[in-house]
Structure formats: C-alpha cells, structure tokens
Amino acid sequence: MSEIVRIENLHKSFDKLDVLKGIDLSVSAGETIVLLGSSGSGKSTMLRCVNFMEVPSDGRIYLHGDLIGSEQNGRMNYRESELCTLRTRIGMVFQHFNLFPHMTVEQNVMEGQLTVLKRSQTEARDKARAQLERVGLADKALEYPARLSGGQKQRVAIARALAMDPDVMLFDEVTSALDPELVGEVLKTMRQLAEEGMTMLVVTHELGFAYHVANRVLFLSDGAILEQGEPQQVLKAPKTKRMREFLDGHSLFKLPD
C-alpha cells in the first residue's frame, strides 16, 4: 500500500508544556487509524500538527513522500501559502462542527472550492450536491445550519471537508458534542467513508467504532504512542497497565465478545 502521511519524531510544546514527545507514524492509503488516549494526552494536538493547525516544535511531516516545509540550519521553515495548500489536501472535522452560520449548507460546502480551489460556481455546486448526497443530506442543501440537528451539522462539516477532495481526513472527537441518539448517524457516515477507501485518522472515545472500523488503533499516553496494533489485539489484550486502566474507564461502551 502506498504511504499517504508520514510523521517523524513529532514534538510539540506549548511554552514549557511538552505535549508530544516524539511521535512516529506512517499512514497508508485507505487505512483508518483510531487514536485513543485519556483527556489531555495530546490527541488533538497530534491531529492538528498533521494539517499544521498547530506548527510542530520539531519533527517532519511528509504528504505522499514530500516533506512539508523546508529545512534551514536544522530548523523547519513553513510558508503560510504552502500550509494553506496543504490544508486543502488534508480534511479536518471538529467536535463543534464550525459550520459557517451565515451561509446555507450548500454554500458552506462550496466555500473552500470557490475561494481556495478557484473552482467555477457550477463545478462547486455540482460537487457540493454530490458530497451532500454522499452524507445523506441532499435535501438540506438550501437550509441554514441553525436549522439542522447536531448530527446533520456534523455530516455537513464532513461534506465540506470532502468537497476539497482531500487525500486524508482528520476527525477530532466529532461525536463528543452530540446527543447520544445522534452519534450513530455520524459514525455510520464515517464507516461508509472508511469502506469507500478514504484514508482517515480518527480521535474518538467510541470504542465500538475503533473495534469494527479501524485497521489500526494507537494509544497515546504522556505524549507518546504507548501501544498500537490491530483493534482486536489492542482493545482485547492490552499489554500495558495504562491501556487496561483506560479501557476499564470506558466500560460504558461495551465491546462485542
């Protein structure tokens, strides 16, 4: 399988706080990787470094084998325009949707296509309609986000990211802000994407999703990857005490036998 993203020795600190202490990861095309870890373990920070919402303190990130940024005197340098282009190729979905409330659903999905990719109105609209269809919201194209349920908003946010034709999608606890009865529709959409072959990096507390959909599960602890492997192995036969404690805390989400 071809490699989409490679992360080498990723470090990130905020002032004195070292959040990520050397992460290495290679993500292959079509892979779905679930990132687990307790609150504050650095999961969001790690995702946000991949699309440079946060600039890494150290380390290298490659997309399709190309190094992001350029090295000068042992330090990485990033141009803002390069990062903007990079972000069009790496989709991101947030816990709180971050839809644009002053635009209709369709305009939300067209916005990046128009202003960043410079697609024509017609092309952007067709693409938006297709992506809304994909997440099951074609009939909501002309609504404003305020009129949608949380689950629908999140699926619009997914469509908005997909409309840019990204090589990889990042999901940061996208069901955590939803009412329990709305979680399923979003997870179903994500599962469908995974099955269609989308490459995905997913931070979630939904162990069921990790178990059934992920090709690989990573457990982040203390700014490093403590365990990783196939979901059956990591979730059912954890090697470390930390991981066992973490899983015990999630007994709410029961695993299938």
Binding site: M53, R87, F94, R147, A161, M164
Partner: protein, 225 residues
C-alpha cells in the same frame, strides 16, 4: 405669557433646509470615509505586526479621547500653518469627523471581529483559507451583523457632534439656526423647530436601523453555530 410665532421661521425655512442638507453632507461624507478607515485601523490594530498594531492603537486612542472641538480647531486653524493647505470649513469638518468617527468605528469593528467564535477561524483555516480570505468571507460578514446596533448608535452620535462645525462657520443646520435666530429675533421658535428637525431626522434613522436589524435577523439566523 410667551407669544409663539412661527411665521417668521417658516418664511425663511429654506435657510434651515440648506443647513439640514449641509449637516447631512458632512455626516454622510464622514461615514463614507470613516467606516472604511475604521476597518483599516481595526485590521491594523488586530495585526500580529506589533509596530503596526501599536500605531493603530495610538491613533484610535488619541481620537477617542481628545474633544472633537479641539480636533476641529486643530485641523481648521493649526494644520494650514504646518502644511500649505487651504482649509475651508467644509474640508476641515469632513476631515475631522472622518478621522474622529473612524477611531470609534475601529473599536466597533474590533469588538465585532473578536466576538466571533474561534471555531469559525478554525473551520475556515481547515479548508485552506488564508487569514485575509477568512476575515473577508467568514469573520467580517458575521461580525458586521453584530455590529449594526453599535454602528447605528455611533452614526447618530456623529450626526449630533457635527453641530460643532457651526463654530468654524460651516453653514450646517445649527449655524443656519443661529443666523435665523438673530435675523428674526425669534430664538425660541427657531431652536424649537431645529430641535424637532434633529429629532425627526434621528428618529427616522433609528427606525430605519431597527428595520434593517430585523431583516438581517430574519434573512440569516442568529450567529450561533
């Protein structure tokens, strides 16, 4: 018992109408230049470039804290001494109130921009939008909606403050009123009519602004995401 007699005032009403038009001219031009200038100052103020931000902060603070009458006199009497410009009362009035109101509009813009949830910047950034694209397409349109009440209030304040231009002999409504009061020996009637004129003008304006606000509230929706 005071005898009210409006006849003399209405006989020369065109004098007051000319004044009203001049008042609207100064206010309108001050808005026309002041709003974009205010936006520019706000963007400078919010810039991560420290010197730029400091300069903007200084200009904004300076024009918000000094009395508008002092500013007007400075532009009218002092500036021509410094640089070789011929200042008419009209130009002095427009320059003063454009800059003075821009300082206030800058703070309104800044408040509006900063009131927008950080998530909106993130949503825009994540689809590859640059800072300026995000500002123009995502942040400002939402901020402007929220700014409308403060913006209207400030515009009304500006309209009232323009009465100061009568002190440099610009023929605004107030100046014409003084003129007419002296001519007719009817200050009571003249200033009553002028007060009513200002009231009607501002009342219509604020009703208009309420209508605009309502329409915006209906067309889009609350700026909750």
């Amino acid at each position: 018992m005071v005898e009210w007699d409006f006849l003399a005032v209405f006989a020369d009403f065109d004098l007051l109408m000319t004044g009203l038009l001049n008042t609207l001219k100064v206010t309108g031009l001050a808005l026309l230049f002041g709003v974009p200038l205010g936006l520019a100052f706000a963007l400078m103020r919010l810039s991560t470039n420290r010197p730029l931000s400091m300069i903007a902060a200084f200009i904004i603070e300076f024009f918000r804290t000094t009395p508008p009458l002092v500013q007007l006199f400075w532009f009218f009497f002092a500036l021509p001494i410094l640089i070789d410009v011929r200042m008419t009362p009209f130009i002095a009035a427009v320059v003063t109130f454009s800059i003075q109101s821009s300082a206030f509009f800058a703070e309104i813009f800044r408040g509006g921009i900063q009131s927008i949830d950080k998530g909106q910047w993130e949503g825009a950034k994540a689809i590859g939008m640059s800072y300026s694209q995000s500002m123009k397409r995502i942040i400002l349109p939402q901020a402007v909606k929220r700014m409308i009440p403060a913006f209207m209030e400030r515009s009304i304040e500006l309209l009232k403050t323009t009465t100061l231009v009568s002190t440099v002999a610009y023929a605004d409504l107030m100046f014409q009123a003084n003129d007419l009061a002296q001519k007719t020996f009817r200050p009571l009637e003249v200033y009553t009519v002028v007060a009513v004129m200002y009231f009607v003008l501002i009342f219509v304006f604020s009703q208009l602004s309420i209508a605009v606000e309502r329409r915006l509230a209906r067309s889009g929706e609350s700026t909750v995401h």
